[in-house]
C-alpha cells in the first residue's frame, strides 16, 4: 500500500499539478512525523500509512493551511483524519480550496502506548486486537476526501471521489475505470460488521457508566492533564472554556463541597471539563481515537465522546466530515440568525 501511494505522490509532484505533498515519513525511534514535501527526493522517506497515529493528520494540516493561495497541496491521510480536515475547514481552520485529500482503505492503527512498547506490532484489519478500540468499531474506514486508494475486492487503484479528485487523475493521465463491485461489497460487509460492533460497544459503555454517577466514576482517574483536548484535531479553541478565570474554584468553594459530602476531590472541574468538551465535540468528533491514545490514565475518553456524538449527530441528521458542502448545524443557525436581524 505504501509503495503505491508513494508512486502516486511522485507522479503528482513531478507533474507540477500539485506543488507540495503532506505525508508521514519515517523518523528516528520508530516515529512517523508529518512532512510537508516539495522536493521529490524527500519522498524516499515517506511512510503514507504508518502503523500508529502520533499526531492527527488534520492537526498537522491545520498548522499551515489557514489560507492557501499559492499552488495545490496533496495530503495523504487516514479517512478519520480527512474527515477531521473537512470539519476544520467548516470551522475555518483549514482552507481546503487548494488541498486534495487522498485516503485509503484504512487498516486501522495500533494503540500508541502498545506500539511504543513493541514497535513490531502491525495493524491488521482482520485481527481486531491489533488495532485501537475506536478503529475496531470504525464504520468510515474508507472513501473519505477527494481520492481513495482501494486495496480490497481485487483492486489496487486510486479512485476519484470528487471532481477535484477526478481532475487530478485526469491531469496525470490515469484513466482506468475498474470494476468496483467486489470492493463495494467488501466495504459494505465490513461496515455492517463494524456497525454491529459499535452499537454493542456503545451500549455496554452506556450501561457501565450511565448517568452523572457513571461519568463521575469513569473520569475519577482523570489527572487533568488536558492531553485529550490538546491532541484532538477538533478542539482548536485558543482558550478553553474550562480555563476561564471564573471557573477557578477557591478554597472556600472546595470546603463547601467537602462539607456537603464529608470529602471532596481536589482539582475541580474534571467533570465540567469533560461534559463541556463532549458537548463541544459532539457534532464534529470524527471518532479518530487520538484523545484516547494520548490519555496517560487509560480513560476511554474517545469512545465516550464518540458515543455522545453518535446521539447528537443523529438528532441533527449530521455526519462529521463526510460532506464539505453539508453545513455545520451551528453555522446554519448563525447564518439564519444574521438574516433574522436583517429582516
Amino acid at each position: 500500500m505504501n509503495s503505491i501511494i508513494v508512486d502516486f505522490l511522485e507522479k503528482a509532484l513531478v507533474s507540477d499539478y500539485v506543488s507540495s505533498v503532506l505525508v508521514p515519513s519515517g523518523g528516528p525511534d520508530n516515529t512517523f512525523p508529518w512532512t510537508l514535501i516539495s522536493d521529490v527526493s524527500a519522498l524516499a522517506m515517506a511512510e503514507p500509512v504508518p502503523p500508529v497515529m502520533y499526531v492527527q493528520g488534520a492537526k498537522a494540516l491545520a498548522s499551515f493551511t489557514q489560507s492557501m493561495t499559492e499552488g495545490k497541496l496533496l495530503a495523504v491521510m487516514r479517512p478519520c483524519e480527512a474527515r477531521a480536515a473537512v470539519e476544520l475547514s467548516k470551522l475555518e481552520q483549514i482552507d481546503l480550496d487548494n488541498i486534495i485529500l487522498l485516503t485509503m482503505d484504512c487498516p486501522g492503527a495500533v494503540p500508541l502506548k502498545e506500539y511504543r512498547r513493541d514497535a513490531g506490532i502491525q495493524p491488521d484489519i482482520s485481527i481486531p486486537e491489533t488495532i485501537r478500540p475506536l478503529c475496531r468499531q470504525c464504520t468510515e474506514f474508507t472513501s473519505a476526501g477527494d481520492l481513495c486508494l482501494a486495496m480490497h475486492g481485487g483492486l489496487r487503484e486510486v479512485l476519484p471521489l470528487t471532481p477535484a479528485g477526478q481532475e487530478l487523475l485526469d491531469s496525470l493521465g490515469m484513466k482506468a475505470e475498474p470494476d468496483t463491485s467486489a470492493w463495494i461489497e467488501w466495504a459494505s460487509s465490513l461496515k455492517a460488521e463494524r456497525e454491529a460492533v459499535s452499537t454493542e460497544n456503545r451500549k455496554s459503555l452506556k450501561k457501565a457508566y450511565s448517568g452523572l454517577e457513571g461519568l463521575v466514576e469513569v473520569f475519577s482517574g482523570c489527572i487533568s492533564c488536558r492531553s485529550c483536548r490538546t491532541v484532538c484535531p477538533i478542539c482548536y479553541c485558543r482558550l478553553c472554556f474550562i480555563d476561564m478565570k471564573d471557573r477557578r474554584c477557591p478554597a472556600s468553594a472546595h470546603l463547601e463541597n467537602s462539607r456537603s459530602s464529608g470529602a471532596a476531590r481536589v482539582m475541580s472541574g474534571t467533570l465540567l471539563f469533560h461534559i463541556g468538551r463532549m458537548a463541544h465535540m459532539s457534532l464534529s468528533c470524527v471518532s479518530c481515537g487520538m484523545c484516547e491514545d494520548a490519555c496517560p490514565s487509560d480513560i476511554p475518553v474517545g469512545r465516550l465522546v464518540s458515543m455522545v456524538s453518535a446521539g447528537t449527530t443523529a438528532v441533527f441528521n449530521y455526519s462529521a466530515g463526510s460532506d464539505p458542502e453539508d453545513p455545520l448545524p451551528l453555522n446554519t443557525f448563525r447564518l439564519e440568525e444574521l438574516h433574522e436581524y436583517e429582516d
Binding site: E70, L112, I223, P250, R265
Partner: protein, 364 residues
C-alpha cells in the same frame, strides 16, 4: 530550643497513626480540613481530596506512593484567589512543598493556614504502573518501581516549611511511627495529642545518610548520561522524536502556571507562510513545527525553579524522559544562579531579582 529532634512516637503503623492524629485534630477543631490522597471509585486511581468529616479520615491514604496530580498544583488552584480561612492539614511530599513555595513566591497561591505534614520521601511509583491488574505486586516492590526522578532526588527531606516530618524512608527499617516536630506550631499541636509519646530522636538526616548517598550517585549518573541543549540539538531531536505535542508535561508541571504559554502565542507560532516557504526552500519540513522550540522554551522558563518532582515524565504518554532532561538542566542552572527552589519563602526568584534591579535602574 532545639525542636528538630523532638519526636512523637507510636507503635502503630504510619497510616493508622496519621489517620488517628488527623481525625483527632479535626474533632477537636484544631484543624478544619485535611488535604490528602484517597483512592477513587476505580481501583488503582487516586486523587487529592479535601476531607472535613472526621469519620471519612479512614479513607485518607497518607503518603500512598503515587502522585496523580502534583500537590502544589492542587493547592495553588485552591489558594490562588484566596487563602484558607481556617487551618488545613496538608500531607505533602518534599517536592510538592518546594513547588508550592515557588507558587507562593510567584503569587500563585498562599501558605496561610496550611499546616504541612511531610515525610522523608522514599519516592513514588509512576501512576501508569498502577493501572494494571498487577498493581499489588508493583506496590509490594516499591523500591524497584519508583520514578526516575525519585531515584535521583537528593531533596527527599522536607524543608523548613514542613511543620511535621514523618520518618518514612530511612536506612534501617523501623517499626511503628516516628514524627519530627519541626515548628512551634507542631509542638503546640503535639501537646494536645496525649495518645502519642514525646521523645528525643536522632535527626532525620542521620538516619537517612545511606539513602542520600545512593541518590547522590544516581544523580551524578544522570548528569553524565542525559544530554543537555549544550550537547547539540541532534541528541534532543531524537529524545523528543516521539513527542505527540500533547503538552501534558506542561499541564502537569506545578511551575508551568502561565495562563497562555509563551509557546502558543503569535510570537512563537510559526506562520503558515513561513512553514510553506521553508518546505519549498529545504525540500521538506516536519509539521506541526515547534516541537523542540516548545521543549527548549519550557526548559528555559522552568529550569531555575524546577523542583525535580518528575510529574512531567509521569504523564508523558510516550514515555519520553522529560524530567531527566529538566532535572539535569535545572541542576546546572540553579547552581550557577545559586538558587534553590523551595528553600526559603523569602528567597527572591531569579527573574524577580532582575525585575527589581531593572526598576532601580530606571528610577536612578
Amino acid at each position: 530550643m532545639n525542636t528538630k529532634t523532638s519526636v512523637l512516637v507510636s507503635e502503630s503503623s504510619i497510616g493508622d497513626t496519621l489517620r488517628d492524629l488527623l481525625g483527632k485534630l479535626l474533632e477537636n477543631g484544631e484543624i478544619d480540613s485535611v488535604f490528602a490522597l484517597r483512592e477513587t471509585r476505580q481501583k488503582g486511581r487516586y486523587c487529592y481530596s479535601l476531607i472535613t468529616d472526621p469519620t471519612l479520615i479512614r479513607e485518607a491514604l497518607p503518603f500512598h506512593p503515587v502522585m496523580p496530580v502534583q500537590g502544589a498544583r492542587a493547592l495553588s488552584e485552591m489558594t490562588i484567589t484566596e487563602p484558607f480561612g481556617r487551618p488545613v492539614a496538608a500531607l505533602l511530599r518534599p517536592c510538592e512543598i518546594r513547588a508550592f513555595v515557588e507558587n507562593v513566591k510567584q503569587s500563585q497561591g498562599s501558605l496561610e493556614n496550611i499546616f504541612i505534614i511531610s515525610c522523608t520521601c522514599p519516592g513514588v511509583i509512576p501512576a501508569s504502573k498502577l493501572l494494571g491488574e498487577d498493581r499489588e505486586d508493583v506496590l509490594a516492590n516499591h523500591g524497584g518501581n519508583i520514578r526516575n526522578a525519585c531515584r535521583t532526588c537528593t531533596g527527599f527531606i522536607p524543608g523548613p516549611q514542613a511543620d511535621m516530618t514523618v520518618l518514612l524512608a530511612s536506612d534501617e527499617p523501623h517499626d511503628g511511627t516516628v514524627i519530627y516536630l519541626n515548628t512551634d506550631r507542631a509542638v503546640e499541636i503535639a501537646g494536645k495529642l496525649d495518645s502519642l509519646s514525646r521523645e528525643t530522636g536522632k535527626p532525620a538526616a542521620e538516619l537517612t545518610s545511606g539513602i542520600s548517598e545512593a541518590r547522590e550517585k544516581s544523580l551524578k549518573d544522570l548528569m553524565r548520561d542525559i544530554p543537555a541543549p549544550a550537547d547539540g540539538l541532534q541528541s534532543l531531536v531524537s529524545l523528543f522524536a516521539a513527542c505527540i505535542g500533547c503538552r501534558g508535561c506542561r499541564e502537569a508541571c506545578p511551575l508551568c502556571s502561565c495562563v497562555l504559554c509563551d509557546y502558543e502565542t503569535a510570537r512563537t507560532l510559526h506562520s503558515p507562510e513561513l512553514v510553506r516557504s521553508e518546505a519549498k526552500r529545504k525540500g521538506s519540513v516536519r509539521v506541526p513545527a515547534g516541537t523542540l522550540q516548545f521543549q527548549l522554551g519550557r526548559l528555559m522558563h522552568i529550569s531555575p525553579s524546577c523542583t525535580a518532582c518528575g510529574q512531567c515524565s509521569d504523564v508523558c504518554p510516550v514515555d519520553i524522559p522529560v524530567s531527566d532532561i529538566f532535572i539535569r538542566a535545572a541542576n546546572l542552572v540553579q547552581e550557577s544562579l545559586d538558587y534553590a527552589p523551595g528553600r526559603d519563602t523569602d528567597d527572591t526568584p531569579p527573574m524577580a531579582t532582575y525585575l527589581e534591579k531593572e526598576l532601580l535602574d530606571i528610577t536612578d
